[in-house]
Amino acid sequence: MSLPGHARCVVIGCGIVGNSVAYHLTRLGWRDVVLLDKGPLPNPGGSTGHASNFIYLVDHSKEMTALTVDSVRQYKELGVFIQSGGIEVARTKERMQELTRRMASACSWGIEPTSLQTPAQVKELVPYIDESVILGGFYTPGVGVVDSLRAGTLMREKGQAAGALHVAPKTEVVGIDIEGGHVRRVRTTDGDIEAETVVITGGVWSPRLARMAGTRIPLTPAVHQMIDIGPVPRFRGAKSDIEHPIVRDMDTNMYERQAGGDLEIGSYAHRPILYDPEDLPPVEQAALSPTEFPFTQADFEEQMQHALELMPEIVGDETVGVKYAINGILSLTPDGMPVLGESPDVKGLWSAAAVWVKEGPGTGKAMAEWMVHGESEIDLHSSDIARFHEHQKTGAHVRARAAEGFNKTYGIVHPSEQWASNRDIRLAPFHDREREMGAVFFEAAGWERPQWYESNASLLEEFGDRVTRRTAEWESRWWSPIINAEHLAMRERAGIFDLSAFTIFDIVGPGALASVQCAALRQMDVPVGRVVYTPVLSPSGGFKSDLTIMRLGDDHFRVVTGGAAGMSDKKWFRDQLVMGAELTDMTSSMTTIGLWGPRARDILAGTTSDDISNEGFKFGTCRIIEIGTQRVLASRISYVGDLGWELYVPIEQGLKLWDTLWEAGLPHGLAACGIGVYGTTGRLEKCYRAHGNELETEYNVVEAGMTAPRLKDEDFIGKAAHRRHREEEPAATMCTITVDDHRSKSGEKRYMLGREPILTSRGERIVDRKGRGSYVTSAGAGPSLGKHLLMAYLTPEHAVVGNQLLVEYMGERYPVTVAVAGATPLFDPENTRIRS
């Protein structure tokens, strides 16, 4: 069969992802879909072909867990799933604690059943384990093994049976033509295909394909070592591929699974071995397959010892031989998440890369929904290809972070854990000042942001007992009580904040208003000089983002959003541009300083003669003021709930502005405050929501308690759905919850960090009518309130102030009480501070 000359969509790569994407596109009604691979079928030689094919369900990432759970559903429907159960075993106390965290994540994401097992119980499930080397295990009976190649074949056949899919193996892509910023044509060894859309599902080859289209998919091929030993006497006569639970030996970064009569041992423990996509051999030159590299024994020496310790009966058996050993190649990304979505550089060019077998079909379905409907049921913001900032797409960054992340595959990763590699990429103009003050830098979008300042340790004395200390090591990690002291200093006097990590872009031209109206829920046709905080909705009325927009002129809007979501927000707005509107990225042209607190006006007044009185400069407005010789765009809003301004200046003037404010602030007791205050304590007291925590596409404006009194007349994305949400009873309501008693069984006070399950007072999961479970979306101190605060969506019957619930943390349950149902701030509920 010759290649069609035209396609609605060309999917490049017949691994589990390509097959899934192609199938789901046809299922959602697309026809003329062409699926290519340079290799043969059913195994074209990519990572799918040598994957160990087992699926663990629980991940701390909600997004990843959702994709995995949906994948298992699909594998079961295809009849290629064998349930075996899986046990993550712990050799250390620290790991046992981590397993309780996994129990909590399982509960938060609704993975049931799961249980913690004693060594003896593990031994019963896996009789060939030496239980004396472990302290316990985390058992998930729903874990299993799939035949991913068979799944791919079945999905292709379904697409072909529907007459909607053309499959072309042994067809190598040699070029992808772009015209006018849009993908136009795929050139192959068997001829050209005019294509409306193209999806790169080329696994480890994806970067190479992306380069053909002049763009980048930031991933690196990396080695995962795997050996197969057998025949195992105990498995003789095995009736299926797997009859015993898969064991993950978490502390050694290894796994062991039965594979028929053999035992497969895999490792993520060795040194990171990264390759360039160009290093991969062509199919016909590879001894096994292009992604099965020669085994490097030297990297597996310790692992043999570890496997021997855990399973001496099998691994120590002299009659059991190493039958097969490979360095399998898989994809790693700089942040460990997949690379999904439409390229920010080329319209119509999509990526579904760095996807493993365990989340393949779910990803395929979500991608197809995104392509056909404009969004997926599962919120994919952590996987969005548009999330990457420019520096994050460089080879050096990808390699550095992939190498650092590799050995964390089974690691115990603290929610606030910082990357060590490739730091100091983006520095604020006042970075040296911050360093001199002992700033502890956390990274956001490559920016180094002070999380707190060690020089503020003196504030601890000043505020004494009002600053809550933490004794447990886990909660003290990546944290300091100084954050709470800085918070109190801001609330009592004033704080100065480095907000350089903001992503800022201007939308200008005669079409500017129409463009921002289309993206924003709130009315954007406001007088020049107004600042509007607005949700940005997805087509189904969920939260795509939330951000602020300043109207600087009739045809000039400035969008300010966080660093993390900045790049994908930028793509979103660019995609909504109407004729006569242009978007310009101002992120590297401007720097932002925040100045908030009851003394903020006094401090600012010391630097300017402009009218900054409450009447002269109202909340929610912005305008240029003169500070010395600097013209500063001042915007009177606050994410910490206090009087003050965001101050924007050209980046080269940032240092001058910082020094001016600092000098003016000293007599007023101005404190430098870190993002610990800005991002957590300040906003939590005010019950302000954060994107990626409270705000995801799976929740809507009404549920988040952010409904505006009236709905604007102008059309905007998600309006129809939003109107419907306004009319229906919300399935859940965002609540702020206080912890009543922090004492654990040992008597030590413990402080939740987020993502823990919220349970009824009887210890049952709370699940709303849409099937969404309640979990802690954000957690942190409310220093002014002297409380530890949690946020969570609760069902209507539980979203009642005073309602008593439980939160599960590290294997124990703590009593909590609903303090706010909805958005009323706990601190300063009348908002007198920001409006004074």
Binding site: I229, D279, L280, P281, V283, E284, Q285, A286, A287, L288, P290, F293, P294, F295, Q297, E301, M304, Q305, A307, L308, V315, G316, D317, E318, T319, V320, G321, V322, K323
Partner: protein, 254 residues
């Protein structure tokens, strides 16, 4: 009893062989390495003989530093120690290889006693010179039987079976002897994990003999033109059976 096995590190080739730019070697960038398949059987036979008779087994190779991997592989299967005649990676011809191995065997025998059997593969998988074992046997003044599919020690002699057209020829030669073997002699075991772990600590004696000028001097390698068969599809599934039988009839088979 003392047994030696000589092996050669060779790449594991895929569906198509790629050469280096200068055409003087195989491009092994993407390839793994092994010992020649015949030699795996030689190693296995050596291990079995020592398991049955006790004694000392030695594996020898002439090859680059990386060839220590194949020595460790052999020791993982049960060989006691290794002698590595290290090269700089240049190719040695059969004469040079045999001379270096002979010297190493003689030196080891002077220190530790005579080898009852020295095993070689019938020919290496890569260069296929068909001569190193025989040359070593001549240099040591020992009988050599080649292409063996069965080896049975019987006191001071060894009974050997060599595969020929129409059956097997039998030779009985006195020990010590040099035997070159072929795949099929035995079914080599896979290394166990404990075997691999023991192999790490077994001794490897390294020396670097000088390379004599080869008298079979490699100029360049080439990939032969393909056979150019053009496949004709007889259909798919069981329904293709009549077409298959028709083809067999035309070929005069049915």
């Amino acid at each position: 009893m003392r047994i030696a096995a000589c092996i050669k590190r060779v790449p594991i080739t895929g569906g198509r062989i790629l050469l280096t730019d200068d055409g003087r070697a195989i491009n092994t960038q993407h390839l793994g390495f092994t010992m020649s398949p015949h030699e795996e059987c030689g190693v296995e036979e050596a291990v079995r003989l020592i398991e049955a008779n006790k004694g000392d087994s030695v594996v020898l190779t002439l090859g680059p530093a990386e060839a220590v991997e194949q020595l460790r592989d052999a020791m993982a299967l049960g060989i006691d120690r290794a002698i590595h005649l290290q090269t700089d990676g240049q190719e040695w011809d059969g004469e040079g290889t045999a001379a270096a191995l002979t010297a190493a065997i003689q030196a080891d025998e002077a220190a530790n006693g005579r080898f009852d059997v020295v095993f070689f593969g019938n020919e290496s998988a890569d260069s296929g010179g068909f001569q190193v074992g025989i040359r070593v046997a001549y240099a040591l003044g020992r009988p050599c039987v080649t292409g063996l599919k069965k080896v049975a020690l019987d006191g001071a002699s060894v009974r050997c079976e060599q595969e020929v057209e129409g059956g097997r020829d039998v030779y009985v030669v006195p020990l010590p002897a040099v035997l070159t073997v072929k795949e099929g002699l035995n079914l080599p075991r896979y290394p166990s994990v404990p075997g691999k772990m023991r192999a790490r600590t077994k001794p490897v004696a390294v020396s670097s003999p000088a390379r004599p000028e080869p008298r079979v001097e490699l100029v360049r390698l080439a990939v032969p033109a393909g056979q150019g068969r053009r496949a004709e599809s007889l259909g798919s599934g069981p329904g293709a059976a009549p077409a298959v039988v028709e083809m067999l009839q035309k070929a005069g088979i049915v």
